[in-house]
Subunit: 392 residues, 2 copies
């Protein structure tokens, strides 16, 4: 399949490439509920629920647990399949499984949905956010849901991990927004994180990323159906959300892929993109169709809350230097030099801050034509580095 | 002024930096009207009008004319001031004027507004597009206006140039979308172009650029007030257009500028961007304010028609190789390696196509922290290369 975006979950579908034939782990989705959770901003929420999965077996002294944190548009399906007939396994299946880099014969791997997860319409995702029913009112929170940050995601995961009796994680890892959670875990709970593996991310959202995240969100804010977040039970801002997801997909890829895959072909053989405003090139129709398919399973307010959580992010909550000073875990930092979201200069600033703070950080790069997305779909390249890091 | 975006015309205002003290040319805006103009798509329009300016004096044999083509959000104000008290001169004033690289003591420099120019609300811009009154109906064209391409922009300019009795241009030049017009001029009227100077552009819109242009346009399409282009006499899609212009400004800049200028400062000293969805960082508020200020003077349909014209662009109209084969003019190609819009690999493809076709092309790069925008505001760096190119 040359284009690589056809399914409802564009990123998931894009992952199919190069992942056939691996031994399959059958996994089940579980739900973790916290009767009460107080956010960093001081708001107490009742019945906070997130979905989670696990691969492998927790050992007797509960010392072999690994936590995987998901990316912006992802969920806790990091590895395996729900059913052998599933079109694709979880997103990091190339490095998580029996005999793989994060070997489930050795490790008990946990992956959880974040708060305000995007995929509210996906039956395999459980999250709590603006689209959830507020138990106090019986209605969706909408914008009454408090602003949450990456630290809040981490605190919910910490409660999940502790509910399993785990006191220390052998590894915390994740791509993109998952890397922000990884840095945050290492800084806010250094005693619980033995090793950390942030992938295709940075330890802080810089001004340009804050700006780009606004570009992603813009079509939602411009969609009158968004209605200041008050659209539950009415027509949701589907057109705006679809365009927002289109922007995410384009940004998460690289020109090498887009140009080689689509060139200047029209959407349909017989179609002239110059005929009317709505006639398209193939790159436009593929991205728009993928965006719309995803939008139908996603929530616009959750998108905006995720944007905010990413914009607010600095490791440790105050400054990059303070955050790095708190970290104790050795880090394996994996990036892609063609990443257009977390650019090489953001990576350099993270590395410099880590080194200035005296941190033990190993930097490895992967390559490919997908840019940012290679940190999700091309991780097999880092297999050797991950094994070495876990063994040392 | 550290931030550099305050005026109504964000890009114009951004240009102020580093341009003080030059000798000022006072210019006047003129209007060129074509009673009838037939587009490449075969539609005949009546009373097509565009604004234009000139600097210097046309010589007796009319051999000293230079044509400057403007960028996406620009207009024909390429140099000089309308009034000595103007805050800023035209966008390429650093290289156009008496004694400057394009020396108006030697050359007669013409700059014209394109068709479907964005700045319909600016009294110094004259253009014809969807917002114009169709003389046949007495109403704005709206989406009944035909799709136009860069070749159409060129043909209107050609009529303007010929109306002045000019048979050959000593130079055609322009930044960004102006470079597309420059390539197109050289390919479609090789006998009329002695030299060509495309700046911060490429000879073809590739798939990634087509995709990004859609990201720019997305907030307009998501804005219900856009109403399929039918909003004249009603509330225009101002929110969507403002967000679209914000995306253009961000993309036209580089992270080096955004990060150094804004960092992670909140919009206001006392404001916490984490308090609510609408509390902002400074980078967000400055870009949003600039976008909204520009939107009030711009037209959303014109924005969409410009996006389409850029997406459709291949030099010569068929393929990069065919286009390059038609060019005769020596070219001075000026680019910025940090350009995020026309990326280094697009520049490389243009260079390769030019060389494969045996073209005489000299490639020069400029630098700076603005990326794409350096081709508008930092052109003094190329002064020596431009002089040498014009003298050879």
């Amino acid at each position: 399949m040359r284009i690589g975006i056809t399914g409802a979950l564009a990123l998931a579908a894009m992952m199919v490439t190069g992942m056939a034939g691996a031994q399959e782990t059958i996994v089940e989705k579980k739900v973790f509920e916290l009767p009460s959770f107080t956010t960093q901003s001081g708001r107490t929420l009742k019945q906070v629920r997130v979905g989670w999965e696990s691969y492998g077996t927790l050992n007797a002294d509960k010392s072999n647990a690994v936590l995987i944190c998901h990316f912006f548009s992802g969920n806790s399906h990091a590895a395996g399949k729900y059913d052998a007939a599933d079109a694709a396994p979880g997103y990091w299946d190339a490095i998580i499984g029996p005999g793989k880099a994060i070997d489930t014969n050795t490790y008990f791997v946990i992956a959880s949905d974040t708060l305000v997860n995007l995929n509210t319409g996906d039956p395999k995702t459980t999250t709590t956010g603006p689209a959830s029913i507020d138990p106090d009112t019986g209605k969706p929170y909408g914008l009454d849901f408090p602003i949450v940050g990456v630290r809040d995601f981490v605190e919910v995961q910490k409660a999940l991990v502790e509910s399993l009796g785990i006191k220390k994680l052998a590894l915390v890892a994740g791509p993109s927004m998952g890397s922000l959670q990884t840095f945050e875990w290492a800084a806010s709970h250094p005693e619980m994180v033995a090793k950390a593996m942030p992938v295709i991310g940075a330890a802080e959202a810089d001004a340009i990323l804050i700006g780009w995240l606004d570009v992603w969100a813009a079509p939602i804010l411009a969609d009158a159906n968004w209605n200041n977040g008050d659209y539950y039970g009415k027509a949701p801002p589907l057109a705006g959300l679809a365009k927002a997801l289109t922007a995410v997909t384009l940004h998460a890829n690289h020109q090498d892929w887009a140009n080689a895959t689509f060139g200047r072909r029209p959407a349909k053989e017989s179609e002239n993109p110059g005929k009317t405003l709505t006639d398209k090139f193939q790159v436009q129709s593929v991205l728009d169709n993928a965006g719309m398919a995803r939008a139908k399973l996603s929530d616009a307010n959750h998108f905006l809350y995720l944007v905010k959580a990413n914009q607010l992010f600095t490791t440790g909550g105050t400054s990059l230097a303070d955050g790095m000073a708190k970290i104790r875990a050795p880090m394996l930092y994996i990036t892609q030099p063609k990443d257009l979201v977390f650019t090489p200069d953001a990576v350099e600033r993270t590395l410099k801050a880590a080194k200035d703070a005296g941190r033990d950080i190993t930097h490895v790069t992967i390559d490919g034509v997908r840019g940012h997305l290679d940190g999700v779909i091309s991780m097999k390249q880092a297999e050797g580095a991950i094994r070495a890091f876990l063994e040392k």
